[in-house]
């Protein structure tokens, strides 16, 4: 049976056996003595405490809450004597034998690294993420950017592609060309960006709060500051709630206004609109199937492209054809639902077409190369899928 002493290592409590505590205290004292003339002494000591705390944390679990004296000794020998880098004597890397025994054991599992980089302090940027991507990582990047599940993003993309008669796939291609790929770890971290939640805010504010209380020597001043901080936090929370509530009220009001201006169509209206929607969706799927068949076999139902016509022209023509085909259905549906003529129908198509043309002119070579490479890529994917299917 050994006496246990609780210590504070850089803000976290750890329970050590008494002998271990003595050893750790001696180690930290000698470190402080070595660094006495170092201007960053406090910071280095804090770093060292943190590193020791990290080593201890790995050792502890729900059923093991005390760090033994031997474990403290082991951690200290892994840390090595503190050498002030500015001194000429005794500042060097230790022989490999001594260092390598400690190096691997002291490191945290790599999963901890990954999670550390997912919530960074920097601003978020939209990148394509290749890890876990299905095609080019657009959905993956978007899911990281807005912070929702990638499967949900993919389902939304597929639904959009069907609802827009294949147009959304063109949008995907455009995004694929515009959005840069996250290559370095820093870019990947930026793709996930900071989580600007209230919790994060509160944690940061608290950290700042504790930092600033350190500077107060006077108890009264500290208490006053504490009161002020709490009041500010309360105020902030109240403002946040108020904002949410007013936003919701605004939303509700808009909704009511909309429905009072636009009378809801009757049951027949809804039914026929839904039927038309279904037909449109089926046509959309058919169109997508045609495009797929064109890419895979170079022909639609045995109808090959005329010689000299590029694949991209075929795809473009097919997409335009589908859009024109479904236009009357969309117009009818729009009229039933909103009682107003369907005027902006070509808007989306037109803008997409313009984007495509712009790309065509700006990067003629890459665009053509990309589209020409689609068949081989898709073939490759299909092969892989088939292989996978065969295995399972």
């Amino acid at each position: 049976m050994n006496k246990v002493i609780t210590v504070n290592l850089n803000g976290n409590a750890y329970q050590l056996e008494e002998n271990g505590y003595e050893a750790l205290r001696a180690y930290l004292q000698s470190a402080a003595a070595t660094l006495a003339s170092n201007p960053d002494k406090d910071e280095i000591i804090a770093d060292i405490e943190q590193a020791i705390a990290d080593k201890f944390r790995v050792l502890l679990s729900a059923y093991k809450t005390v760090v033994t004296a031997r474990e403290v000794e082991a951690a200290i020998s892994e840390m090595g004597a503190v050498n002030d880098g500015t001194e000429s004597e005794g500042a060097a890397s230790t022989p490999p034998g001594a260092g390598s025994t400690g190096g691997a054991a002291s490191d945290q599992p790599p999963s901890a690294d990954e999670s550390a980089s997912t919530s960074t302090g920097q601003t978020r940027r939209l990148y394509r993420l290749h890890e876990g991507a299905m095609i080019a990582g657009v959905c993956n990047g978007i899911s990281a950017y807005i912070g929702i599940d990638v499967t949900l993003v993919r389902i939304i993309f597929v639904l959009l592609a069907i609802a827009s008669a294949g147009f959304w796939s063109l949008a995907y291609v455009v995004m694929m060309l515009i959005i840069p790929v996250a290559d370095s770890a820093a870019e990947k971290a930026a793709a996930h960006g900071a989580t600007a939640t209230a919790q994060e805010f509160i944690r940061r504010a608290r950290r700042g709060y504790y930092e600033s209380t350190k500077g107060f020597s006077d108890r009264a001043a500290r208490r006053a500051w504490k009161r002020k901080f709490k009041r500010e936090m309360r105020e902030w929370r109240r403002n946040f709630k108020w904002e949410v509530r007013s936003n919701m009220a605004q939303c509700q009001q808009n909704w009511h206004q909309y429905w009072s201006k636009h009378p809801a169509p009757g049951f027949e209206g809804w039914a026929s609109a839904s039927l038309l929607g279904l037909i449109e969706a089926i046509l959309g799927i058919l169109c997508a199937a045609c495009i797929l068949s064109l890419i895979l076999t170079g022909a639609i139902f045995g109808l090959a492209l005329p010689a000299g016509v590029h694949l991209w022209i075929g795809i473009l023509l097919l997409v335009v054809f589908c859009h024109v085909l479904t236009w009357p259905i969309r117009a009818a549906r729009h009229f039933i639902l909103y009682r107003s003529p369907y005027s902006c129908g070509g808007g989306g198509l037109f803008s997409l077409f313009i984007i495509f043309l712009v790309f065509w002119f700006v990067f003629p070579h890459q665009t053509r190369e990309f589209i020409d490479a689609i068949p081989s890529t898709v073939h490759h994917l299909v092969e892989q899928l088939r292989e996978w299917w065969g295995k399972h």
Partner: protein
């Protein structure tokens, strides 16, 4: 005197160069640096690395930012400053020159 002891001073002098190289590749925190060094002849312990990192930061070669970690408290992630990159380039060139000299001298 073993080779290990003979090259003690050289390893010591090169450590900063290697740390610059490791940090230039990616944003890392201290345990990453130790891990990368641990399998080499330059295996180092925290007691040496932390003062070195703080010295390099004082000299303006590095800077760090705090990043949240889900597994524990926030960590310091280090990256090179412009000055650090310049120094790395100069040191690399110098190192290449030394290497050439070592390789070519005394050969006929």
């Amino acid at each position: 005197m073993s080779i290990d002891e003979k090259f003690y001073a050289i390893r010591k002098g090169l450590l900063e160069f290697l740390v610059l190289r490791i940090i230039s590749a990616d944003k890392v925190y201290a345990a990453d640096i130790l891990k990368q060094l641990s399998t080499t002849e330059f295996a180092t312990q925290e007691g040496t690395l932390y003062p070195l990192l703080s010295k390099m930061r004082r000299e303006g070669l590095l800077e760090y930012e705090w990043r949240e970690s889900e597994a524990g408290p926030p960590r310091k992630y280090y990256k090179l400053t412009g000055k650090g990159r310049d120094q790395l380039r100069e040191t690399s060139e110098y190192w290449d020159k030394i290497n050439d000299t070592v390789k070519n001298l005394g050969r006929s």
